[in-house]
Every structure is written in C-alpha cells, then in structure tokens.
C-alpha cells in the first residue's frame, strides 16, 4: 500500500509491535573480511523458519539508492543486491525456507498504478535534467563552483519491470548467487531456497502470500512455522494478518523521515537543487577524513511483530455482549478490509477518509456498531457482505460534511501555528551580541541548571573567532558573487547570504477549486474531477459500482489470490462515502479464467514512449508513430492534479487507460518480429527450488534428474518440514558437481557446486476451493507482550515491559561510576540527535528521533557488552565490594566471540561501562595506557552526543572505541579467541 502515513500511524499507535534488530557484523582481520557464521543462534533471541523476500523492495534501493552514490554498472548493482540479501539472511537466519519473489506481471488493477509511476518517473527524470542545466548555468554565472557534470548514462529505473533484459539478467545472477551460497555458506546448507523470478506472473508479495496460503491449506503444514517477511510496504502488515498464522514477523528498514538528500548538482547535503549556490564543500572532519560517508549511511532494520499487533487489535476490536460469540479472527479480517478504504494500490482512497485524521479509528467505532446491529461480520474468507459495507459507508457519509470542514480548520490552524512558531524561532535567535556556548543566557526555572563556567577564556576566544569567521565568510561570499555582477556588491547584503527569505507567503498555495469545506462540495467535486453534473446519477452509479467491485476484488486478492487479471478501476477518483447507496446488488462475481498479460505486453501497457528502448523496434514504434493504432496510450506529457495535496508526487496523474482489445490487435501485427531470445523473455516461467547436498530432499531431486522423469512429482512431505508442492525438471538446471559460471565478471565461478535446482509449483487446489481464514488447529499463540489490563490488581511487582522477542532478556546495567563518567564527558544540555539539516522535505511532517541516554542504556547486552563485562570482571575482581556487582552482570551462557554489533547504542553502553571503571584501575596498573583510555572516554561521550542518526561517525569511533576499550582493559593474551576455530567452516 503506497501509504507511508499508514505505517507511521500504526507504529505510533501500537508502539510495541516494533522491535529493533540485533545485527552481528562480519569482521575484518588483516584485511580479510570474515563473514558471520549464521548457523549460530539468532542474536535476536528468536528463531525464524521461513524468510520471504519481496525482492523489488531490495532491487530499487540497490540499483538507484537515494542516499549514496549510485552503482556504476549492472554488475555493481547485482553485487549490491547480493550483499543486501546476505545482510538480511544474517539478521533473520531462516532455518527452513528462503523464498525470493520478484514482481512478475501484475494484475490489470495494479498495472494502472505501475503505469502512472513509470510515466511520472520518466517525466520527472526529464524535468530534473532540465532544471539541473538551468540552475547549473545560473550558479556558474554567479561565480559558484560546481563539480563537473559526470557524463554517465542515467539508470532508467523503469527497467525494473518484468520482461526487460535487466530482469532477465537479474534472474540469472540470483541463480548463481543461490548456488554459490548453498555450496559455500554453512548457514544455507539446510535451507530450501525458492526463487520466483519476474517471469512468473503476480506481484512479489502476493506470490509469497499464495505460497503461504497454499501451504497452510495442505495437511502437512506445520501450524507453528515462524514466518518472516521482508518489505517496506504497509500492505505487508495486512497480508501478514490475513494469513492468520500465529508467528508472523515483518522485517523492514527503519523508517527515517526527512532523510537529507544530497543536492543533485553539487552533491552536498543541506539544501535542495533549486537553492544550490555552488559554495565550496565544507570539510567533513578536520582533514576531510569523513568525506564520502553520508550521515546515517547504513540503514538499520526493525522487526514488526504481528502477534503483538494482534494483541493490540484484540483489545480494540473485542466486543462484549454480542448476541453471538465473538470471533477475533473474523474481526481481524474486517479490520484489514476497512484499512483498504483508507488507501491501497488498486483504488483511489475516499476523499473523506484520511489516515492522519484518525479514519481507521472512526471506521472501527462505526464497524462495532454495525456488527452489533446486523449481527454479523462484514467479510468472510475474503468475500464481502455488501449490505453491511453500505451501513458503514452511510455512517461515514453522515459525517462527511463535518470531516471536510474540520480538515480545513485543522489545516488553517496548523498553518497559523507554524507561522507563529517561525516567528518565535526568529525572536529566540536573539540579537547579534548575544553570548553563546556556556555563556548563553539560560531561562529561569527550568529543570537543567546551567553548568559552572569552565575555561572561560577559551570560550571567549571561540566566540571572538566565530564572529571573525562569520565576517570572513560573508566577505568571501561577496567577493565571489560580486565578481561579474554589474556593480560592486554592497557589503550590507553580505549577511543576506545565509538568511533564507522564507516568509509564510513564499510558496503560493496551490489552488483548490473543489473547496470541500464549502457548501456545494459534491457538485464541485463531480464537476471538476469527473466533468459531470452532480445530477448525473447514472454516471455516479457507475463510479460507485466500479468502486464496490474494487473493494471486493482487493479483499479477494488478499485472501484468495487474484480473482480476475482483467479487472481495474476505470476512473481517476473515488466517489464520496455518502454515494454508496443500494450497493447490495452491484456486484456478483468476476469474469472467470482471465489470463495475465505476457511480459512484453505488459511493458507496452506500463511504459511511456521514452522507455521504449526496452522493447523491440517495431513494438517501440507503436508508441510514437502517428499511424499507430494505440498512440493514444502514450502521451508525452500529462497533467497532474494535486487533488488538495502539496507535492506533485502526491497528486493524481491524469493518464488515459489502456484498451486491451486495441493493444492486442496492434501487437498481433508485430508479434512475428520477436527474436527467439525475445520470445523466451516473453514467455511465462516457473518458480525454482534449490537445495544443497546436506538437505534431505537433495537425493530425491537428484534421482528425478537421473531417471529423467518429466512429469510433476509431489514433494514427500517428511523430507522438507511438511512443505508440499510439485517438482519438475528444469531445462537448464543447476546440478551438483557441475561448475556454475558466474554471470558477473568480478565474482568467481563455482567450481565445486553442491546445489541442485528444480522447477517448483505451489500445491494445486480445486478451482472453487476457498482458503479458510482461520487459525489452524495445533497453532500455539506466542506469549503475550502487552501489559495485562488488570496487572496492578493481581501483582505486587511493577510491570516489566518486554523490548525484544524474549521475555527474559537481560537488560544491561550501568553503575553509578559509569553514569558519572558519561556525565562528565558529555554536555548534559544536549541530548538526542538532530538529523543533518534541512533537505528532504518529502514527508508531510517533520519528525526527529530523539534518543535519550536512558533508552541507549536500556538496551540489552550483546556479545560485546557481556564480553566487556567479563573482561572487566577479571581485572576488577581484586577490588573488594565490586565483585558481587560484576557477578550479577555475567551472562548465564557467555558466547566466546568478540562479536561486534553495529548498534552504536550498545557501543555506548560498552564504552560507558569501561570508562566508568577505568580511572582507579588504570592509575594503579598501567599508566602508559591512560592516554588511550581517555580517548576512549571522550569518544564514548561524543558518540552519545551524535546519537544513532549519525552512525557514520558514530560507528567509526564506536568501533574503535570498543576495540580500544577491550585492549586497554584486558590482560595481555587472555582474550581474543583463536580465529581458526571459529571461521573454519569447511571442517
């Protein structure tokens, strides 16, 4: 679901569903990178069985990253994808199945959205180039400096569409990758890998759902399989809930709003393209040593625990005093259905339902009422009861008028507040003579008292230097810019360089002709959006009918699979909730036995003419020739209706819809022009399954190849954790002991391959089979996480919230001296991180993640904290009175490795702990080490100040800190474990 607000809303309202991932990092030893041994227990204290990758969420950031330099060529992209999968594999460590699904040809309902995205991408790309050249000229004309424009081919992200050569190469590369890992990585050797590439129709996540659904419906399925699905789309949450599997977790990159993007011209962060001034780059670090590392360059991952979401929903949805027993599973399905009203990929959302305005809460309230009144649920196994939907819609419709009015009020209120805030901020900056730093004026009566002034002369010096610097900078700027402007530039406006001319009226509000908050909105809406009179009931009925069909289609898609490949919503806008009248008879069933498009046909359906280079020449000419009989599908420019939003990308692209009949008629003439290679790319492929030699299924598959049995064979359930499906021989198989050539020049061929590949098909069911949306018998619910509502009554102890997967996780502690040491080296007035300057501007609201020391310190111990503890233990044991404390900290089962986790927070804990105990001991023992340790201490403090946003810097110093700490405290030769024992996997 392309609704970024949805996930934000969910994770705010149901905060405990999010668990941060613990990631063990590979280490470097003498320049050799030692990969992590993923056969070890999962450091997240949970074991996953199946990992599903929605590959498009991986391919896009790896091929055209937004926050770092793009890979130079296709090979680098592939390697980036491999590394990303490795990372996920390392975090999740699936023990049974790894399922990789790339988007194949999508249902028609989705193709319209894809089409709109691709046309926009193409248009935005062209506009960006234009804008860049214009601003470049302007900046250079003003005497600014810009790095020379690299002449490189822009990567057209549109090629990430099934049927292109790129996707075909990707499939090849992934086969190689899987074979390589199965042969060489011990963590993979027992895992069944299924690869569903772009030649298999269906969206990635829905192919995954189909797999899960069909496994669940067969008798050998293990009802307690722990699933982990990777992907950032909010609809994965819905899909996960729709499976009714008790153990379902989603893993995604941590959501960081407003991440600064580098300016497209000068590659610096902190301003947007249109504000680029071509100023020389600021040095990163004293000697520019941090250049090239973007702030927060490595994203961290989070888990979303659906079982916790289910707990929350159970509290919210449970209805007492129903005339029939409450069925939580049914109400979950209804909740999922109602979320579709707010936004999904297949339908425009209703104008009155806005997730940020609490639309879902409103719907839930209405819903409960409807269930009470009508005595039943709204959906069943993915089929909709339209009568009840109508009741919900009518209830929303009654409030519609007020919703629009309130929206306007809130909007105005927000603007007014922002304006006032801006004004306040301006005032707070104070006059130029205001002192800064520790001399800064402090408000009275606040909690943190100002520190005593220390080193006053130095501070005074700094302040003087600062004003000198300012003056120098403005002088420099005026000299630079004044060079070729007409007159000598006045020294007075030197200061104006920094000041932004951002008044409230600087950005003109887009006009809104509909004015939903004024009477007559319905007429205006239909007039401006559909160009019909509100009295045109027939037309409105048509829109409503299509929307009703849409709701049924979407729900069916989530619960039963694609009901019709042909169906789509043929309008650009949704009707009002109050228009849903007498909808009961509006929908019966979908057309049966529809077929998906072929890959190249779909390319014709979603690409703009500018991306025609991915198609054969005669096909391409259909997109641009005036004599083409489908030329109307390919406008080279189109309007975007903001529809009340602020940014173009939020608006509605007014693109014409594709007429399938004419498309196929036109393509019939050019089909003979396809080469054999293109014909192959245009055909539908099959899922592939790979296993290694150690896997119980290996011999079975090998036998299939030996006997050349060319018919579907069922997997013996006992060989593969109860997974079922049909196997068939692959035409160009990967076979054991046959070398696999690497499709990427920089990677080696696999000489000793021990993987085997075979075609795989999900278990088949009768045509009219209905997949039941229920909990399976034998499913054990995971332990509850939320605080029971009656905790206070029955228990004396205070409630201990659970932060990870494991209830009995040991939190790390820091003793008083540790706190003192931390307090010493950091300014206590500054806490929390501030994302690096402006930029971004994409999301609706500004958010910043404030990480207080407290949260940093309440992280759980990981290997290195415990390691540090142990190390400290040995050196401290002779200090009386301390032993008991360190005893307490010692983990029950101590891992023998010096794992180095990425999370800077834990570093801090580690550094802090040692820093805290350091002074006394070191003075007593090794005075020569003191300098190093004090550096450690400073680094620890710095780390806290910079918080986790700033991981580039943070992790660098952090890494070093951890190391130094350990070396500084460990008695020589006592610790680092012999690497040979740990990394020699082949023995």
């Amino acid at each position: 679901m392309g609704v970024p607000a949805f996930f934000r809303w969910l994770s705010r309202k149901y905060a405990s569903i999010v668990v941060h991932c613990v990631e063990e990092k590979g280490k470097e030893c003498n320049g050799v990178c030692i990969p992590v041994d993923t056969t070890k227990p999962n450091p997240n204290e949970v074991e996953f069985d199946n990992l599903y990758l929605d590959m498009n969420g991986i391919i896009h950031p790896c091929t055209h990253p937004e926050d770092k330099a793009a890979p130079k060529n296709e090979d680098e992209m592939m390697v980036a994808i491999f590394e990303y999968i490795d990372r996920l594999f390392n975090i999740v460590r699936p023990r049974r199945v790894l399922y990789m699904a790339i988007d194949g040809v999508a249902p028609r309902a989705k193709m319209n959205q894809q089409r709109s995205r691709r046309f926009r991408a193409s248009k935005e790309g062209a506009e960006l180039v234009e804008e860049k050249t214009r601003i470049r000229e302007e900046v250079i004309g003003k005497g600014g400096y810009l790095p020379p424009d690299e002449i490189k081919e822009r990567f057209d992200s549109n090629c990430i569409t099934p049927g292109t050569e790129f996707m075909d190469n990707l499939a090849q590369c992934l086969r190689y990758y899987v074979a390589e890992r199965i042969s060489n990585d011990p963590g993979w050797k027992n895992v069944t890998v299924i690869l569903s590439d772009a030649s298999v129709p269906g969206e990635g996540e829905h192919k995954i759902m189909d797999y899960i659904r069909r496994q669940r419906a067969q008798p050998n399925h293990d009802p307690n399989t722990h699933h982990c699905l990777c992907g950032a789309d909010a609809d994965l949450i819905m899909l996960g809930l729709a499976t009714h599997e008790p153990n379902f977790t989603i893993i995604r990159e941590e959501f960081k709003p407003n991440k600064p993007r580098p300016c497209a011209l000068c590659n610096q962060v902190g301003h947007e393209l249109k504000e680029c001034q071509g100023v020389a780059r600021e040095k990163q670090g004293e000697h520019d040593e941090f250049a090239g590392s973007m702030p927060g360059s490595e994203q961290e991952f989070i888990f979303i625990r659906l079982c916790v979401l289910r707990e929350y929903l159970a509290r919210e949805l449970t209805m007492a005093s129903l005339p029939f027993p409450f069925d939580f599973e049914r109400s979950i399905d209804d909740w999922v259905f109602m979320c579709f009203f707010v936004g999904n990929d297949f339908l425009p959302h209703l104008p009155s339902l806005e997730i940020r305005e609490g639309a879902i809460d409103r719907l839930v309230t209405i819903y409960k009422d409807v269930v009470h009144k009508t005595g039943g649920y709204v959906t069943h196994n993915g089929y909709v009861d339209l009568e009840r939907v109508e009741l919900i819609m009518q209830a929303v419709g009654v409030a519609e008028d007020n919703i629009f009015k309130k929206r306007k009020e809130d909007d105005e209120g927000f603007k007014r507040r922002m304006k006032e805030k801006k004004k306040r901020m301006k005032n707070e900056r104070g006059p130029a003579h205001m002192t800064s730093g520790q001399f800064a004026p402090q408000a009275l009566g606040r909690r943190d008292k100002p520190d005593a002034v220390n080193n006053a002369r130095h501070q005074a010096f700094d302040m003087r230097m600062q004003s000198n610097k300012d003056a120098a900078q403005s002088l420099k700027a005026s000299m630079k810019n004044g060079g070729n402007s007409a007159g000598p530039s006045g020294s007075t406006d030197g200061r104006g360089v920094k000041r932004k001319s951002n008044d409230s009226d600087s950005e003109p509000e887009p006009e809104d002709d509909v004015r939903l908050w004024e009477d007559g909105w319905r007429q205006r809406y239909y007039k401006t959006k559909f160009d019909v009179e509100a009295t045109d009931d027939d037309f409105r009925q048509k829109v409503v009918r299509s929307y009703v069909e849409g709701l049924c289609w979407v729900l069916r898609y989530y619960y039963q699979g694609c009901a019709s490949w042909k169906w789509y919503f043929p309008f650009h806008y949704a009707p009002f909730a109050s228009d849903f009248k007498d909808i009961k008879g509006m929908f019966d069933d979908f057309e049966k036995d529809t077929k998906p498009f072929k890959p190249l046909e779909q390319l014709m359906g979603v690409f703009p003419a500018a991306s025609g280079n991915f198609l054969p020449p005669t096909w391409r000419s259909l997109m641009s020739s005036p004599d083409s009989s489908i030329i109307d599908f390919y406008p080279d420019d189109f309007a975007i209706d903001l529809n009340g939003k602020k940014y173009a990308w939020q608006g509605v692209a007014l693109l014409p819809f594709v007429d399938e009949r004419r498309l196929w008629a036109a393509l019939a003439d050019v089909y003979p022009d396809l080469t054999t290679e293109e014909q192959r790319r245009n055909s539908l492929g099959s899922d592939l399954m790979f296993v290694g030699k150690a896997h119980p299924l290996f011999d079975f598959i090998h036998e299939l190849y030996r006997t050349e049995s060319n018919e579907d064979t069922e997997i013996p359930a006992e060989l593969c954790h109860g997974i079922q499906g049909l196997l068939n021989l692959d035409g160009k198989p990967i076979l054991p002991d046959q070398p696999v050539t690497s499709p990427i020049p920089t990677l080696r061929d696999i000489a000793h391959n021990s993987a085997i590949g075979v075609k795989f098909r999900d278990p088949a069911f009768e045509k009219d089979f209905v997949f039941k949306a229920v909990l399976l018998s034998g499913a054990k619910m995971p332990n509850a996480v939320l605080k029971p509502g009656d905790w206070e009554k029955g228990n004396r102890q205070p409630w201990r919230p659970q932060t990870g997967f494991n209830q009995h996780r040991q939190p790390a502690h820091l003793d008083q001296s540790g706190f003192r040491a931390l307090g010493h080296s950091m300014n206590r007035n500054q806490h929390g991180g501030r994302g690096g300057g402006g930029g971004g501007g994409g999301e609706e609201e500004e958010e910043e993640e404030v990480v207080s020391i407290a949260t940093l310190l309440h992280q759980t111990p990981t290997k290195e904290t415990t390691e540090v503890n142990k190390v400290a233990d040995t050196s401290l044991s002779n200090i009386p009175g301390r032993t008991a404390y360190w005893e307490r900290l010692r983990p029950t089962s101590s891992p023998s490795t010096l794992g180095s986790s990425s999370s800077s927070s834990r570093m801090v804990a580690a550094a802090g702990v040692t820093a805290g105990i350091e002074p006394r001991r070191l003075r007593a023992r090794r005075t020569s080490r003191t300098s190093r340790t004090s550096r450690t201490r400073a680094a620890g403090g710095r780390l806290l100040l910079s918080s986790r946003e700033d991981t580039s810097r943070g992790s660098m110093t952090g890494e070093r800190t951890g190391d130094n700490t350990i070396r500084a405290t460990a008695p020589e030769g006592s610790r680092p474990p012999p690497p040979s024992r740990r990394y020699d996997w082949n023995n």
Binding site: G487, R499, P508, D536, P570, I630, P635, D637, I640, L642
Partner: protein, 302 residues
Amino acid sequence: MAGEKSEEDTVSEYLGQNPELAQWVDTFRSYSESNKQWVARREFLLRNMEAFPTLEHGVPSSSLDRLLSLSMVWANNVFLGCCYPQAVMDKIKEMGDGIVVQDAPVHKTTKDGIQGRGKRSATTEGESDSGGKRAKSSRKSGPLPQAPAEHQPFFNRLYKAVAWKLVSAGGFGPNLDHFEILRSCVESCKETMACVYVPLKDITGLPAGRTQKEGHVCEIRCQTVYMGTGYGRDEAAAKAMASKEALKVFQGRKVTVKICRRRYNGKDVEDLVLLDEQPRSPGFPPALSYPFQDEQLEEGSS
C-alpha cells in the same frame, strides 16, 4: 451558442436516420466516459470516418482502430490535458477542427502549475492552441490571467525587503544609490533584475517635441514584471533613474502586480506591471521589451 446547439442536433439527427450506424458507433463508448465526453468524441469519429476509406461500417479493422486511437488522443488532450508528439497533435488539430466543447476542463501540467515558478511551459501553450476547439478559452498573447497572483507573493517579500533596506538607509531620498538598493533587495529575495537598454533615438512613438538625439532609456523588470523606466545620458544613469522610478512604487502601503495595457512596438499589448495602491494616470512609458513569448508566435502566424 445557438450554432453549437444546432451542431449537436445535426449529429443526433444524422444518427437518427442511420440507426445501425448509431448502434455500431455506441459500441466504441468506454465505460468511464461521461455523456459530455462521449458526445464530443462521437462527433469526432463521425466527422472523420470518411477520411478512412478502408473503413467499413460495422466491421472491426485496423483503420478503425487508428481512427479510434486518434479520437482518444483528441479526447485525452481536451479532457485530461494530455500532450502527444507534435506530428500527432497536428493531425488531431486538423481532424478536430470545428468541434466545440463547452467549458472544457483546464488542466495544469507539473511544469507550470505545480512547481509554479517562472514562465508558462510549452505544454500549456500547445494545449490551449491545439485543436482550436476551445474557442472560448483560447487566449491571446500576453501574460496568463493567473500571472499576477503567481507573482504577488514574491513582490510582497520584495516589498518588505525594500522597506527595511530604506529604513536602514535613512529613508527614500535623492541621494541614495537607488539601483544598488533595489538590486540587493531583489537578490536577497533570490531573484535577479532584468535591465534592458535602448538608445533613445531607436524608440518610436515618442512625442515629437521631446525627441532627443542623445541618451539611453533603461527598463527594469523582475520576474517578467515591469517595475520602472528611466532616461539618462548613459546607460548607468538611465539605470539609476529607472531604479528610482521603481523604488517610488514601493513608497505606498503595498505593491500589487496587475495586468495593464501599454504600448509596445507601436501596438497595444497586455503587460504585467507592478503598481502601488494609488490610482494614477494610466500613462506608462512604452515598453522596451516584451517577455511574453507567444507574442512572436502570433506575429509569425498573422
């Protein structure tokens, strides 16, 4: 309007006489098409059927598909605001000539509507010019009707900047470097001024008595909006005078961008002008430049 009505009547009359044709044509209507859109597109189809000789009534063929496609191109252009390659646009312009659509929707493409700065894009021009069927809405050359509103926020900011600048310079007076003040204010608002110099002798249409041989005239614009004109012995002096004139406008309570008629190249044109709130004699000096591009287009075509 009466003419248009009868036109629609002719179509329905024609279809009434040919019920089979009417039935057949109605199969081309798409589900999401409103009555208004369909009536217009049907007219387009009927008018152009003869131009496709291989087209047989009631029989699907590739030439029928081509006609359907072009009718969609035309409808998408009129109702959705889509633009197509020039060759296609030319073709539908010709084919759609004479079909009248009453108050067709106005759509903005990103270029002009949303990013919202600066000039109109070529697309809207193409859109409003193409087909010629928007008889009512097709505009003459000159600034867009919404242009004043678009420029107003910038000049509000500029007004503040100038006001403060003048305060710090001790108020408006003859001894200021007017150009410098204006320039720095404009640049602090992230814009640049455009100065056009013309030797006085090259200007036509000045009152005969005042025509001097020497000297230069300078015209200052910012964001295509006219701000002031000045005369001087050399270009620098002319510029200073023009700046002074421009600054005078900022002495009022506020400044407004308006569309006014003035002379340019011996013709009356509409120009974007910055005014204070006082009503004053509409006598602008003739424009020295005209930054609204389609003026030339119009000249070229007429």
